[in-house]
């Protein structure tokens, strides 16, 4: 009765308070969480293809030994900008877009808590990336010192000023986005939506938002000091002036390691929504999942120096950071166990979102295993700065974060657009992606173990075969994502098959009680929370 009731209301609401008809008014001045979510997702997809094109340049250059296509400096620009664009332009905005769309719907709020700040958070991003990418056309070129911007290398050239300005803007955007998410989750939940009734995706974003608040200002501090070293005569990181370049690495990685979890915790939340839906079972160990996310977030603050084993840390520090890093495997193992146990005995079906989620669980775990190998301080002296590291973090970020985002897009696009995507093309996209991504990244483990350094445009002929295989996988994976683009465009604009309100038979949660496509305004009247409707079933307090 309750759900039928607010469905009626939403239709009523939609008729009288639909989106503005004027294009500029709707998309530029929007304060609606769904429209801003769409803007974030479109922006992230655009940056995914721009960052992906940089990756194609990298793989084309590495197809054969010797310098083939680009000059070494341009190659370094590509590696630097590929990382910055993918991390800050694709993965993070995609998660923020999903948060914007889904968190108010999942907690029964009419919108984000601070809608105008939400608009500003988004519009800072395109401006920041225009500034960043414009450096490619500057005399002297763009940033080429790696996304970590270690001084003194990163301070060569003038583009660093633009890069730092862009990072400040991205940081402000992220912090404002995080503030909005925290304020929404803590204050705007419908009556009866207790914290331990929230979907795991909402929990994962609440914890991620606190991580963002804790570490983005630290990145801002680090790059501000870089700026003053370069232009205002300070010597924070200049050894000749009494500074310490290692200090930068400590500050950067105090941000950088939690940043890795900022890019993976929302992915955990997404997979924790999708697997129960297609297993037709509540998630196994809801509270354990929430506590595991919180534990991982806490541990992320005390492991940063595992990125710096090779700089000459004291033995005690190396041992501490080694064991602290390995400790992360415990809550992560809890999560993997719970996902598998959720599937165990379930009435499983394998639609595209489920396929990407299962691939996530398996391939992210491979990335986790190579992470454990890298956590061993003595072994890291061999692996450090090799392609083994590149293989590791791409398993975590591509088959982890990116696969989860793709899974989320397939899972929720019927709710966003009102149309069902083409399952055949979704599955073609999945199989093409999952095979090619392994062809792309798995050989890089062998290259790294054999000693091939990262961030080089040329290499010893001994590495030729695996590089050629990796490049073929890269072009294949890149082409596969064009299928994804095609599926999205087809679903949104051309698909004939309409989605019911509850797009998936086993889907539970408030977002499935509103019509498909979700009306412009939802939950103007707060919904009734019914435990049977929650994805994780009844939780004892």
């Amino acid at each position: 009765m309750a759900h039928a009731a607010h469905d009626q209301h939403d239709h009523h609401d939609h008729e009288h308070h639909g989106p503005p008809r004027n294009f500029i008014e709707r998309w530029v001045f929007s304060t609606n969480h769904k429209d801003i979510g769409t803007l974030y997702l479109v922006f992230a997809l655009t940056m995914f293809f721009i960052g992906g094109s940089f990756a194609m340049v990298i793989r084309a250059e590495l197809f054969k030994p010797g310098l083939q296509l680009v000059q070494p400096y341009f190659f370094n620009e590509m590696t630097t900008l590929h990382a910055l664009v993918m991390i800050f332009g694709a993965i993070m905005p995609a998660f923020v877009g999903l948060a914007n769309w889904m968190i108010p719907l999942m907690v029964g709020a009419p919108d984000m808590a601070l809608p105008r700040m939400n608009n500003l958070s988004f519009w800072l991003m395109p401006f920041a990336f225009c500034v960043l990418l414009s450096t490619l056309f500057m005399p002297g070129g763009g940033p080429a010192g790696g996304w970590t911007m270690y001084p003194p290398l990163s301070l060569q050239g003038e583009s660093i000023a633009y890069t730092i300005f862009a990072i400040h803007l991205m940081g402000i955007s992220s912090i404002m986005g995080a503030i909005n998410i925290i304020a929404t989750i803590l204050n705007m939940r419908a009556p009866g939506m207790d914290l331990l009734k929230m979907p795991v995706f909402v929990w994962s974003w609440l914890i991620t938002a606190f991580l963002l608040i804790a570490v983005m200002p630290v990145l801002a501090g680090a790059v501000t000091m870089l700026l003053t070293d370069k232009y205002f005569g300070t010597n924070f990181f200049n050894a000749a002036g009494g500074g310490d370049p290692i200090l930068y690495q400590h500050i950067f990685w105090f941000f950088g390691h939690p940043e890795v979890y900022i890019m993976i915790l929302p992915a955990f939340g997404i997979v924790s929504e999708i697997i129960p839906t297609f297993a037709r079972k509540p998630i196994f160990g809801y509270k354990a999942m929430v506590f595991a996310i919180a534990s991982i977030a806490f541990l992320s603050f005390i492991v940063w120096a595992h990125h710096m084993f090779a700089v000459g840390l004291p033995m005690g520090a190396e041992i501490f950071f080694m064991y602290a890093t390995m400790l992360i495997a415990v809550p992560t193992g809890v999560k993997v166990f719970n996902w598998v146990t959720t599937m165990w005995g379930g009435s499983l079906t394998f639609e595209t979102p489920m396929l990407f989620s299962i691939a996530f669980v398996i391939l992210f775990t491979i990335g986790g295993f190579s992470g454990l190998m890298l956590a061993l301080a003595p072994a890291d002296f061999q692996y450090h700065d090799t392609y083994f590291v590149v293989a590791h973090f791409h398993y975590v970020l591509v088959t982890g974060a990116a696969f989860a985002i793709i899974a989320a897009a397939y899972y929720w696009i019927p709710k966003w657009s009102g149309n069902m995507y083409n399952e055949t093309w979704g599955k073609i996209h999945f199989w093409s992606s999952v095979i090619s991504v392994n062809v792309l990244f798995f050989p890089q483990h062998f290259l790294g173990l054999a000693g091939m350094p990262r961030r080089i445009p040329d290499y010893n002929v001994a590495f030729a075969n695996f590089n050629m295989i990796s490049s073929i996988g890269g072009f294949w994976f890149g082409a596969s994502q064009l299928i994804f683009l095609g599926v999205i465009i087809h679903t949104v604009f051309f698909a004939k098959k309409k989605s019911p309100d509850r797009s998936w038979e086993g889907a539970k949660g408030l977002e499935w009680t509103v019509p498909s496509p979700a009306p412009h305004h939802t939950f103007a009247v707060p919904p009734v929370i019914n435990d049977d409707e929650l994805a994780h079933g009844h939780v004892d307090h």
């Binding site: 009731a5 601070l114 503030i179 009866g192 608040i213 200002p217 924070f236 707060p526």
Partner: protein, 56 residues
């Protein structure tokens, strides 16, 4: 947590009663306060991270 909920057609017709509106505005106010606190923490962390400027 006493925000009235829509349980009948009558409620729906009279959606957004004064009480609901007042409760909604109170939530928005609490949300703004949360935002100021969290934003203040972010600024404090930024200042802490560049505090080293005083030592150089």
């Amino acid at each position: 947590m006493n925000w009235p909920t829509a349980t009948s057609t009558i409620d729906l017709v009279n959606a957004h009663t004064h009480q609901q509106e007042a409760e909604f505005q109170a939530r928005r106010k609490r949300a703004r306060r949360t935002a100021w606190i969290v934003g203040g923490i972010a600024i404090a962390i930024f200042l802490l991270s560049i505090l080293q400027m005083l030592n150089v």
